[in-house]
């Protein structure tokens, strides 16, 4: 695994410069600027249609901006063919997106295979170990796995190419709460252990507050709040951000009252 020299966040690793994108006249992302430092774990939070997934997909060019540009490691992402760019990035999909006709090992090894370097059995085992699965899982088919196991394979696949940047699009949305909590913590640990820069799209503010060290709140295609979790909990970020923070806070308070009333 690549280990960066310094675990502390440094200069901008990824930068959105005045990016916009509309679909059939409806603005999805509006003139947005944002810089993301190396090593940071950024959560993109917002309601459905707020533009968070559209913004994320500009990075790996699943949807290019109509205007503006995205700079990754000092270069415009559009300088290279999309396939080559994507092989350098880790991407974890909403709804997993494992290839149903390939074994676990083939799914994990697909990125290296596309790049012409087949992953060895040892490498597959190592990646499985990263997501805490036994090497025996290599020969299973995706339909034989539970939802949580499948998403762990999805994470292992995203990490197979030693990416510096991990993009996650609502990665835990389809999982049950227990699995979701465990996998979130595991990803956070991997983020630190591998020195990744991670951007996670989620609609769940509690998940964002617990995992990320920077939370971007989007609404109507714009970033309306950009705060660390502690600041959001302390009331910063404006009405929309506070509206999203209020939900888990009220749930926590209600749980505390229930607990006290025992």
């Amino acid at each position: 695994m690549d280990q960066p020299a310094s675990p502390t966040p440094t200069g901008p690793h990824l930068r959105f410069e005045n990016v916009s994108r509309s679909f059939a006249g409806v603005v999805a992302v509006a003139a947005t600027d944002c810089a993301i430092a190396q090593g940071s774990f950024v959560a993109l939070v917002g309601a459905s249609g707020s533009g968070k997934s559209t913004l994320l997909k500009m990075v790996n060019r699943l949807g290019d901006p109509d205007q503006g540009r995205v700079i990754f490691e000092g270069r415009d992402v559009r300088d290279a063919p999309p396939a080559a760019l994507r092989r350098r990035l880790g991407y974890v999909f909403q709804g997993v997106g494992l290839f149903p006709h390939m074994t676990v090992a083939e799914n994990i090894g697909i990125g290296p295979r596309l790049a012409g370097k087949r992953a060895s059995a040892e490498r597959i085992a190592e990646l499985l170990e990263l997501v805490e699965l036994e090497p025996e899982y290599a020969v299973r088919m995706p339909h034989e796995l539970s939802g949580g196991q499948r998403q762990r394979i999805g994470v292992a696949r995203a990490l197979a190419g030693n990416p510096h940047l991990l993009l996650m699009d609502e990665p835990f949305g389809a999982l049950d709460p227990v699995t979701r909590d465990g996998l979130g913590k595991r990803v956070r640990l991997l983020h630190e252990r591998l020195g990744l820069t991670t951007i996670m799209v989620t609609h769940d503010m509690a998940e964002a507050l617990l995992l990320a060290d920077r939370v971007l709140v989007m609404d109507g295609g714009r970033i309306v709040a950009d705060e660390p979790p502690q600041a959001l909990l302390a009331g910063a970020g404006g009405d929309i951000a506070q509206g999203l923070v209020a939900v888990p806070r009220e749930q926590a308070a209600a749980l505390a009252r229930l607990d006290a009333a025992r």
Partner: protein, 510 residues
């Protein structure tokens, strides 16, 4: 039962020709449909147009689609030259491949439409190029569905290939059509059993391939493909390549034509030629096939050529018509009219003797008076033919109803009361056997129909061939022909056309 087995055993040639035709058509269908499906999956307008076209083709009856390729290929000769075959393998291949297109295309497009969006996005997201995405994700996921489409196409193609007999391509349709014409049901059944059996075997093998794709068992995929290819290869080996000096004799779709083709073929075989038959050709197709070199020899009738080829509706009399025909064929098509065989197979209208007597009908003029209360039955082409139109207007014939029957069933329709009057042929043995009355054509509105031997421009250069056939000129009386026809057409003690031809040869002293 033993009849059917005997017929089946003698069907190896037709079977192998059928296998090769169906396999080639299926292969052409696949290699056309798959790239089209890829294109369609990337462009909704292409998808709509391709599927619309394939569905439209599917609505054309297979028999018509096969026949339509004859004029299409004929017109394409201006582009590809005179060597382009217009009958036989090529038009059959093209028509059947078009027919195979729809199920393959539709299944491939549907499979692609129903592919989970997440999986396709994942393919892009992990960094696949378009080609890698097609090869590693789209193709393997669509394979079982495409295979199901290929299976359907294979069964359709094998079934429809029996119809290629009508455009001169040997197939398992040969025994079916020949059996139908001569009411030899054992032969029809044998052809159907062979064709259905072939379809079932192909379906089973391709089904194994489909299951192999669905369950991701490569050995199953490869063994299915290997067995199917082995079958095609065996058919290829069994089909001896026909040598250039094989003489091809064409026959229209009735017994007299089958018998005369065999009579000519047997004479040529004893003269040392190898002979092939193209049976069951349509009346218009035969003449085109002869002049374009698709067949070498045919038997036709003066009246037929007069109206269909020369487009004439006048009736200058028997000898003048013959002389004019010989001259016209020589000058416009280069075809040699060897001569008249000696009998006439004229169109005539016939009734049951007892019914005609009861109604007092002897002449077509008598018939015209009774016609508004009667039903006339004709063979499938009769009511479209200029002869009928000429006779109808000459006598003012206006029947209550007109019905089409295949010529096999025409006489049964008359005896069974389905029709009061039928279009009959004067050389048909059933006219005498069924006690029919030929209604007299007092105005000479039907032209004469002397049977002629025609030889294609190329074959006419072979003096030895012409010499071998010359004794046939003037040798066959209408009585001899009727007897031979009846021996094939009757229901008991049936003869095959080849047997009838040998008997006829004995009778006329060869």
């Amino acid at each position: 039962m033993s009849d059917i087995l005997t017929h089946l055993a003698g069907m190896g040639d037709k079977l192998s020709a059928h296998v090769l035709l169906a396999a080639a058509a299926l292969a052409l269908g696949i290699i056309t449909a798959l790239p089209l499906a890829v294109w369609a999956s990337r462009s909704p307008p292409v998808s709509r147009i391709a599927l619309g076209f394939a569905s439209l083709v599917q609505t054309i009856p297979a028999l018509a689609l096969l026949a339509l390729f004859f004029p299409v290929l004929l017109s394409l000769r201006s582009v590809f030259g005179e060597g382009l075959p217009t009958l036989g393998f090529l038009p059959a291949l093209l028509a059947l491949a078009l027919y195979a297109l729809l199920p393959i295309l539709r299944n491939a497009v549907t499979a692609r439409e129903h592919m989970a969006g997440g999986v396709l996005e994942a393919a892009d997201g992990v960094g696949m190029t378009r080609w890698q995405k097609l090869r590693l994700v789209e193709a393997p996921l669509a394979a079982p569905y495409i295979m199901a489409g290929i299976r359907t196409a294979a069964v359709w193609t094998i079934g429809a290939a029996t119809l290629s007999t009508t455009i001169g391509q040997p197939s398992l349709g040969d025994p079916i059509f020949a059996g139908l014409q001569t009411q030899n049901w054992a032969l029809v059944l044998a052809g159907c059993i062979a064709s259905a059996g072939l379809a079932m075997v192909a379906d089973a093998l391709l089904g194994a391939v489909e299951r192999g794709f669905a369950r991701r068992k490569r050995w199953l995929v490869w063994s299915g493909i290997a067995l199917a290819l082995a079958g095609v290869a065996a058919a290829g080996i069994a089909q001896r390549p026909t040598t250039g000096d094989t003489i091809v004799i064409g026959a229209k779709n009735f017994s007299e034509q089958y018998i005369l083709a065999r009579l000519i073929g047997q004479r040529l075989e004893s003269a040392g030629y190898s002979v092939e038959y193209r049976d069951g050709l349509g009346s218009a197709v035969v003449h085109q096939a002869l002049t374009s070199g698709g067949i070498d020899i045919s038997v036709d009738y003066t009246g037929t050529l007069w109206t269909n080829q020369l487009g004439r509706s006048d009736n200058p009399g028997r000898e003048a018509m013959y002389d004019e025909l010989v001259r016209w064929e020589r000058e416009s098509t280069g075809t040699l009219v060897l001569g008249q065989l000696g009998f006439e197979n004229a169109y005539a209208l016939a009734m049951r003797e007892d019914r005609a007597a009861a109604l007092g009908i002897e002449t077509l003029g008598d018939l015209a008076r009774a016609a508004p209360r009667l039903t006339i039955g004709g063979d499938v082409e009769f009511f479209e033919r200029p002869e009928w139109i000429a006779v109808r207007s000459a006598y003012g014939l206006d029947f209550d109803r007109q019905r089409n029957f295949t010529s096999t069933f025409l006489y049964d329709a008359l005896t069974g009361g389905e029709a009061d009057v039928i279009s009959a042929y004067t050389s048909d043995g059933r006219v005498a056997a069924d006690r029919l009355r030929i209604i007299e054509d007092t105005k000479g509105a039907f032209p004469s129909y002397d049977a002629l031997v025609l030889i294609s421009p190329d074959a006419a250069k072979d003096a030895r061939l012409v010499a071998a056939l010359e004794p046939l000129v003037g040798a066959i009386s209408v009585e001899a022909m009727r007897e031979a026809n009846l021996s094939v057409d009757r229901l008991e003690d049936k003869r095959s056309p080849a047997q009838a031809a040998r008997t006829l040869a004995d009778k006329i002293g060869f």
